[in-house]
């Protein structure tokens, strides 16, 4: 148990930055270089070398170990190097330096349905995809019925997959992948597809895999599934390991990375000249009326927007969308809601306030997207994911009663006892 199954030592991967290097990649360039006068050729070489200095380290000195049976979640913001790490681990690309020792059979799942061919039937694709993922023909034949049952597409087995609905396609693809039996499974984001019921099924299957004592490396943006599946975590930040350890510690460090919850946003540049409605300032106010990014879950808060309309608009609307850290949209609310119809907005500066009730949001972090638009016609302004709030646990009913309640919102609803009536049969 103590011997690590994967050892990564000082792993680095360098990419040459596209725009400069690409210039030297064309055939024309190669031919030109070959035929040019030597002096010119030398200069071109020097230039090329200078261009090559513009390099980008996708991974830099990454070292960690994975023990057998460990389920490790690899997390990090976009561009942190997660995908590069997986690509090197699954031998798709070579590291620039460093070394990995793997003690077991690896199967990697960087995409659902790799190698699926539109023209082939479901049955044919099962065999093809299985072979691509490294299963032998005998193995696929043995598990064929199981795969079909899992995918729930029995009826369409002899239909070309191009006639499948996207849901069926994904189910079939995951079914094949789920029946791989390697000692080490490397999975990238595959759960981000399919409907909720199927996602749940996939998560269940993944849990089975780890319960069988196999080692799993799991990359995901979905913190809920990382939390559910993984025992340990690895947090990458700009190609370097920021923290390795137990999953709660790593998640905490991830969530505090980079985002500031100051509850205040002002437009960085002047309002555009083109006709439209634009946000100038957005403030989050707590119950006491102070600007705050950290809010208690039991108290209400207000979103205050100052907008400027360059001219008068009919049928215009401001909208707020609230998204939780799993990427689920909790709600949308619009300036026109209380009128139940579109309203006229005059030219000039307006201030709107929207109050969200307390005892409603579950503790966690949320991002706000704000939009000013004419529905179905024109989008004037969109502030996407730059405003975040952190709702903190301040004694919601869930913590008081200690029940394991589920759900994305936690409103207090009135339970009204009725006069005792005989139970209906």
């Amino acid at each position: 148990m103590s011997e690590p199954i994967i050892t990564v030592e000082k792993l680095s991967k360098r990419y040459l930055l596209g725009h400069q290097a690409a210039k030297g990649e064309g055939l024309r360039h190669a031919l030109e270089n070959a035929f040019r006068a030597p002096q010119q050729w030398l200069r071109a070489r020097q230039q090329a070398r200078a261009a090559r200095r513009e390099e980008f380290w996708a991974l830099k000195d990454v070292s960690f170990e994975v023990k057998p049976g460990e389920v490790m979640g690899i997390i990090g913001r976009n561009g942190a190097g997660k995908s590069t790490l997986l690509k090197i681990l699954s031998r798709i690309t070579e590291p620039t330096s460093g070394r990995i020792t793997i003690d077991g059979r690896v199967a990697s799942l960087l995409e659902v349905g790799t190698g699926f061919h539109q023209e082939l039937t479901g049955r044919e694709n099962i065999f093809l995809n299985g072979a691509i993922l490294g299963m032998s023909k005998a193995e696929i034949t043995r598990k064929f019925d199981e795969i079909v049952a899992f995918s729930e597409v029995e009826k369409f087995l002899d239909t070309p997959v191009k006639r499948y609905s996207s849901g069926m396609y994904v189910r079939l693809a995951f079914a094949v992948a789920a029946h791989l039996e390697p000692e080490i499974l490397i999975v990238d984001e595959v759960l981000a597809v399919g409907d909720a019921a199927f996602q749940k099924k996939c998560l269940g299957k993944m849990q089975d895999v780890s319960a069988q004592g196999r080692t799993v490396l799991f990359v995901s943006h979905n913190m809920a599934s990382v939390q559910l599946l993984c025992s340990t975590g690895l947090l990458l930040n700009q190609g370097q390991v920021q923290i390795v350890g137990s999953i709660p510690k790593v998640l905490e460090s991830y969530l505090s990375q980079g985002v500031e919850y100051d509850g205040h946003w002002t437009r960085p540049e002047p309002v555009p000249k083109t006709a439209g409605i634009y946000f100038e300032e957005v403030r989050i106010l707590n119950e006491a009326g102070d600007v705050a990014g950290h809010l208690g879950c039991t108290s209400s808060f207000t979103v205050e927007m100052r907008v400027q309309a360059t001219s008068a608009f009919d049928r215009a609307q401001l909208a707020i969308r609230l998204t939780n850290q799993e990427g689920v949209v909790i709600l949308s609310t619009c300036s026109t809601d209380s009128h139940r119809q579109f309203v006229h907005i005059d030219a000039g500066t307006h201030v709107f306030r929207v109050t969200f009730p307390g005892e409603f949001l579950v503790a966690g972090t949320y991002t706000l997207q704000l939009a000013a638009h004419q529905p179905g016609q024109q989008l004037f302004d969109l502030i996407d994911d730059t405003i975040a709030i952190c709702v903190e646990e301040t004694g919601s009913v869930a913590t008081i009663t200690k029940d394991q309640r589920l759900g994305v919102v936690n409103p207090i609803l009135a339970w009204v006892p009725q006069s005792t009536a005989p139970a209906r049969k």
């Binding site: 064309g26 690309t93 691509i132």
Partner: protein, 277 residues
């Protein structure tokens, strides 16, 4: 199972063992390409015969009009068709395996396997077309009442093997080059089109030394396809299509160079495919 070590430049060591481990994938890829090749076509696999057959009709007509003699003994359509057989195999294999890495780029960037599997299975697919077209030769012969020289026919597999080598070697070069230089997407169709006229489809190779000198024939034979077409004619049509031995040796040597250099270049560039493609 042995420990797997991933290091820069390390892939070399397990390469041939891996290639053997992935032999089933090789079969599956070839099988897939065969399955999809003629899906949703009306005449289906008949295309394998129709393409060389129609080309043969046009070329025969051209030869009749321009009074080219062929080999003077065997019927003109047969004379052309025996050259079309290996040429068609070579050209389809070249273009299919040349583009194979690009068309399978989703595999290259998402799964590990020895990349050699991809162009190799494309050559196999083209070979099946070739085999079907070859069977058609029998009908052509029956139509013209032509009896092939059985002793020569036994040597045919050697020339088939040679065609295999030539298309695989050239395919490896093109495939590896195309990953980096997409220019070859335009170069290959041109090569194929031009190659038909550079190959001795209309003439006997021996007529070159009759018209010019043997030096020119030897120079001409540096194109490996020349030796291959000569070989096909010699084994199918008979001894009046002389085997020009220096040309044959040049052809074998050319194919050997193509395959080994193709393998070398492919292996050299292979590990950066996923980054470049």
């Amino acid at each position: 199972m042995a420990k797997l070590i991933i290091e820069a430049g390390r892939t070399e060591r397990n390469y041939w063992r891996d290639l053997w481990r992935y032999r089933e994938l090789f079969v599956f890829l070839a099988w897939r390409d065969l399955l999809i090749r003629y899906k949703q076509t009306t005449v289906g696999v008949a295309w394998a015969v129709l393409r060389p057959f129609l080309t043969m009709l046009v070329l025969t007509l051209m030869m009749r009009v321009s009074k080219l003699p062929g080999d003077g003994i065997s019927p003109l359509p047969l004379f052309v068709y025996t050259a079309m057989l290996p040429w068609q195999f070579f050209s389809t294999a070249l273009s299919e395996s040349g583009t194979s890495l690009i068309t399978n780029s989703n595999l290259i960037s998402k799964v590990y396997f020895p990349r050699l599997v991809v162009p190799a299975s494309s050559v196999i697919t083209s070979f099946v077309d070739f085999a079907i077209a070859a069977v058609f030769t029998v009908f052509l012969m029956a139509w013209y009442g032509f009896m092939p020289p059985l002793t020569h026919l036994a040597a045919l597999p050697i020339f088939v093997l040679l065609t295999f080598g030539a298309s695989f070697g050239a395919g490896l070069w093109i495939a590896a080059l195309m990953v980096k230089y997409r220019d070859f997407r335009f170069v290959v169709p041109f090569m194929v089109q031009f190659g038909l006229y550079a190959a001795p489809v209309f003439i006997m190779t021996s007529s070159i030394s009759e018209k010019f000198s043997e030096k020119w024939q030897l120079l001409y034979s540096l194109n490996p396809v020349v030796g291959i077409i000569d070989g096909f004619r010699w084994s199918i049509l008979g001894g009046h299509n002389l085997l020009y031995w220096p040309g044959q040796i040049a052809s074998v040597a050319g194919v050997a160079v193509l395959v080994s250099s193709g393998l070398w270049y492919f292996r050299k560039t292979e590990r950066s495919f996923a980054d470049v493609i």
